[in-house]
């Protein structure tokens, strides 16, 4: 997901005090996510899609400096002029940038200086938020900056996990965790929850709370009758797919998916390793036995689609998902729950489970504009729609998503081949 798609939203009604509290909460949460990593870890960039943790720390700070402090805080002086070049992500109107695939070469500025940068900007932001000049435009921009930073919190986690997974030294096996065998954890037969369909309102006009522009405007969609599986697909079910030659039968796959799978040599989800007669997976800290009852994770759209076909089902559309989610409570295993992997479903609960948190759900809906979508003006809103091609919508959030970031209208999006996010699937019929 490109994390800088921002809207010109109607403002969330908060006093400056509350906004200040939110600011401190989000900024502190970001730093907390880096506590277990060294300066060396935080330089890692393992692919152009990903960025170093240090870069995330600086870029989210650059956002407040560029869009809040420089235009709105009188007398503000930049921490370092060259940061403009180093930590811009893709705002063309803001100027030239350090090449994205070379962010891992930024040994300088050192982490220590980036942390000073954060403090420096945080102090100035407090000054700004305490000043008398805070109007709704400023409030809106701060709110966007916080949502922007929450998105980067998730990327920070998935990016460093990817990089560390390539270092066998870093992720040693956690032998304390008990081995999970397949036989003892046969998954139950999940239920499918039926929905009537009909004309449904999708999206939001964001009048009373924050939403990105791509979630807007609220509009009607006709949805035929459908049903959704009560829970996400589990690792145990995915093993059955593998054992039934799911990765070897072209007829189960989209043409582009089959080509990608052959080229990349996919034979299991990302981060699955077979060793000493068991399947292992990794967190950013260690290698551990796979929990067969947990949702499958780190799969591409192509794999999700092939699995659904193998099951005689399909993926839900984003409209079906949102329609179903509208009446559900927004709760689940988010970042705040402290889990580094999606958790097994609570079997005793009824109805739709795991809709929010745990893992993103691939939908069969391409990421395209809603009818009436318009691009906001200004640098902050630059290129709002420019990612609306060749990517697919994911819904619901994951264990790496901040809870405040989530809502039933939220549209995340990635390319069909990407696997390093916490991506899973729910079956539909």
């Amino acid at each position: 997901m490109r994390v800088d798609n921002v809207s010109d939203p109607a403002l969330k009604q908060t006093s400056e005090e509350t906004l200040m509290a939110q600011y401190e909460h989000v900024r502190t949460q970001t730093l907390r996510l880096t506590e277990s990593f060294s300066a060396e870890d935080m330089m890692l960039q393992s692919m152009p899609d990903a960025s170093p943790a240090k870069w995330h720390l600086a870029h989210t700070t650059w956002f407040f400096e560029t869009f809040l402090l420089q235009p709105h805080l009188a007398g503000y002086r930049s921490f370092d002029e060259t940061y403009q070049y180093l930590f811009n992500s893709y705002y063309e109107t803001v100027g030239e940038r350090h090449p994205r695939p070379q962010r891992g070469l930024l040994s300088r500025p050192p982490l220590k200086e980036v942390l000073e940068y954060r403090s420096y900007v945080d102090n100035a932001m407090k000054q700004l938020l305490n000043s008398s000049g805070v109007d709704t435009n400023i409030e809106a921009a701060v709110t966007i900056g916080l949502h922007h930073e929450m998105q980067h919190q998730e990327l920070l986690q998935t990016d460093i996990k990817h990089a560390l997974s390539l270092n066998s030294y870093a992720l040693r096996l956690d032998t304390n965790k008990a081995v999970t065998s397949v036989s003892s954890h046969a998954p139950q037969n999940p239920e499918f929850i039926p929905f009537k369909g009909g004309l449904s309102f999708i999206g939001t006009d964001a009048e009373s709370s924050f939403a990105y522009d791509c979630e807007q405007p609220r509009h009607q969609v006709f949805i035929p009758e459908f049903s959704l599986c009560e829970r996400l697909v589990t690792n145990a079910e995915w093993l059955e797919f593998m054992e039934d030659d799911g990765y070897k039968r072209p007829k189960l796959w989209l043409s582009d998916g089959w080509a990608t799978a052959q080229q990349e040599g996919w034979q299991a989800p990302l981060y699955w390793y077979y060793q000493d007669n068991q399947w292992l997976t990794v967190t950013a800290q260690k290698r551990e036995p796979l929990d067969l009852n947990a949702p499958v994770c780190h799969i591409s759209y192509y794999e999700a689609d092939a699995f659904a076909r193998w099951k005689g089902c399909r993926l839900p559309t984003e409209f079906e998902w949102e329609h179903a989610a509208q009446s559900e409570e927004l709760s689940g295993h988010f970042l705040e729950s402290g889990n580094s992997l999606p958790q097994p479903v609570n079997n005793s609960a009824r109805g739709l489970k795991q809709l929010f948190g745990d893992a993103w759900e691939w939908t069969q809906s391409p990421f395209i504009p809603y009818p009436g979508f318009t691009t906001p003006e200004g640098a902050l809103a630059e290129y709002n729609g420019k990612f609306m091609a060749n990517q697919w919508v994911l819904r619901g959030g994951s264990c790496a998503t901040a809870e405040q970031q989530m809502r039933s209208t939220y549209r995340n999006f990635f390319y069909a081949h990407q696997r390093w996010q916490f991506t899973s699937l729910r079956l539909a019929k």
Copy 2:
């Protein structure tokens, strides 16, 4: 468009006599398209997306041999066993294939032998169609084979045009054609036709006439109010876009589109050449001055999208297009009209023009399954949905499309970067 996506349609009610006449008509039309080309021309393959004309001649014939003659004509003996390997396109269940990017290396069998193959199969097909055993299954398969061949007729034309365009010797300037200057052909201000929207039926159940599976089933879609431009965008309008730096302003482009345009060095539509103070384009036979009043052609989805944004408009959805086309007469400049390029609009006509024929219209709809889409059984229907990712729907047909092939529910599809088909755009609001 992948030309072998076929359905298990309800059959078109025709007597054997009629089917025979159709068979002869289509097969003859294919050969007619190759009349001006040599055996050497018909070997050309300029990119993996394209195939040699000789290969198209053989592959369409292989289709009848494999799916009609071998299973249904008692005592039929294959023309040459090795053709199975050479001329299969992508039917995995039918066996191994000659590598697609190396079709241009098939100097053998020679064209002469491929033409004998066509005669041989045509004779056998006549025998089959005259036999008493022709049932509705056979009729359905023949109908599919003919629609399949009509699709290859279009590809044959676009593929050889692409290859010849890379040989400066082949396409010399036609100096008989008068030079068209920009100033004398200023385009008129086109009208936008308004539509009310609402719930609309899209697609077909193909009960009384042929349709591919991807056009099925007929289903309801909610379409908001919209309006469509009365005609296609012209070359003159495209020149304005170019002169206004349309190819140089990233803010007009999708992110993937901008990256592609930079990498490929796009500065004009495919086949545009600037020489001696005028713009030229090519047909498969010659180089000639660009007709500024004709529809722009050979553009990618990315260019169409950027142009629409530049105009303050957007591309239509496939549902808007189909909704508008349902009440229009199916007529236009198709293959049978003998034009090698799309023609200028008839200004005296009223209402929507150029809906059918002339050039395919990019829509903003990704090619995904309709609700309730199902994959038919059997080899003929293999992989019906397997192209439903990362491609975009085009509507309406072109000057290289056989008229019988077209209908308002027809969904063509290509990747967003592809330009060698006769692709154009119509603005929507």
Copy 3:
């Protein structure tokens, strides 16, 4: 080998009559080599290193038109102005060129027209050679043109062989040829012929006969004592290497060679196919059982080097080879012998065998300039030394080399990874 490295040689003393006879001989021989191929075959280009046979026919003709007729035949009118662009190979001073990797797209001009071009130029050349104005400069240029054409004769054969080998239809198994089994053809233990070494004269000053500039000047080289194997390595010996895991042991290989072998998946020489319990190879006309007593052929420098190391030997230097060849008769299986593959050695002969003809011998000498090498002036001599990096010298000629082209000082050169020429090896100690 790049075939246009030409020198400003002292002239071979021939009357115009003889030069005319040579001209006719060489030009006729070129056409004879194409007799068994169709116009379609002669368009094939299977890789950028290779060119279509039709292109070779035209390019060698273009050479005479450009360097003889245009400057020296009064009133000469070019056959077609555009040929200048199409059939120039790499003479930068002569102008722009059609892109080399797209020579296979030249369906036009048709073969028929290229043959007319040859006749047209041949007639004009006869006129020139019969005129009174033929001086030694012209004679020198004609001689170069003929040697140039002989080099293209060899490439024409190896290029079309490569292309046809990729078409399983083209090269069907020749079942008339008896199967050769390994056991019945165990190779004898070859003898090594000792040489004393010392200061030796290498190269030529080309005063009395034609030689390329890279063979000049004659100079002294100190050669330590050495010995050469009496014959080339055989296919039977190569099989032993394969059976002893020669392609699987990195310690036998150069580092670059091992990387190339892994990347390309080499497990045998080019054109070796294992089928029905026997090894087959191909000619340009058919697939046939491998003759185990024949020299191994179509191997890269890397493979030759690994084999020699496996045998506890090494490849000869080009100086050792030339030193040994100076006292040998220039005879062997050349193009004129009509063999499409190298032939088994004549066991009854004594001393060094197969030095000339049959197959080129990789030496361990990089292709670099001799001391005192100078670049001649003028377009014909353009870039004489520009290929003197990263390539290796081969010596002795092959079954596809015209006999008149060969001499003991002749230096052929290719990159270490290239295998499509008739390349073999002789062991040295």
Copy 4:
């Protein structure tokens, strides 16, 4: 240069005490080279050719652990078993390795732990060297280990320089250094020193001092008369070449060189930047004005060759260079002189200057085996000759080379396109 080509040399006669002193000297020198870099800097890997400084620190230590301590120190226990996998470079017999292009992903082990590893191994080495069991085999292996480490000292410097050069933040302009203008520093006309040539002994038998296997055996070469320029080519002369369109004239270049220069967009040596009307270059610490009197540096073989051709000269052979160097004193600006760039020549000196130190000199000699070259046995000597293809010999050492490492027979080697070493040229005739 691959730094692990080692021989089975006759041993340098030293007491254990001396060897211990050498060991301490070399190991300390390595650490000194890293003093100005942070742990983050020492993780940088900017291309597969280069390695992180931390990796160099660990790999050179691994060498002593693997080839000295494990086989020879009774009771030695490895510091960490996984280091075997992480810090092996390319010794196939020693086992699997971490992928070379991903050495930059080794955030763990942290630098701190790698430094502990060095101490741990150093302590064990002292124990070994003080023990009574030190025989000549052990002494030989220690000597190799030290030469190996000196080679890595040079790579450590060039690798980190390359990585930091890609970070504009890291290398800010040093404004203290005065601007050097072209006009005020016109280079003198250098003299060419003549040599008679004849039979000369090249290489060494390494009986009394250390030498790599590729420098052996001593053998005779016939060298024609030649002359060498008294000094290296200067930056001022290189500017003349650039101003005379040296980078734009294909006729000056080798064919492979021209293709590389076009593809890479070369228009000046590596690390030359034009800014504010002056040319700058970089050290590993800063950006500073180019010293026009200093030797040109960071050029490829292709550029060196083109420059020489432009001057009407050529590069020397490695035999000419060694012949000339045999009678010269081994002194110059080496690593110990503390210069981060090659220094201007001392104009008052007579005869050949800058032969040793300052910058490596490309020769026109490919890196191939000397006559009689043999591969030593054992893992330490694994693959001694495996780099003898496609690379070129450089002679003389640079400002990043430890003085003890250099001698007149030393053969360094790199690919013709590589520029990140301290590479320069001396003209020959």
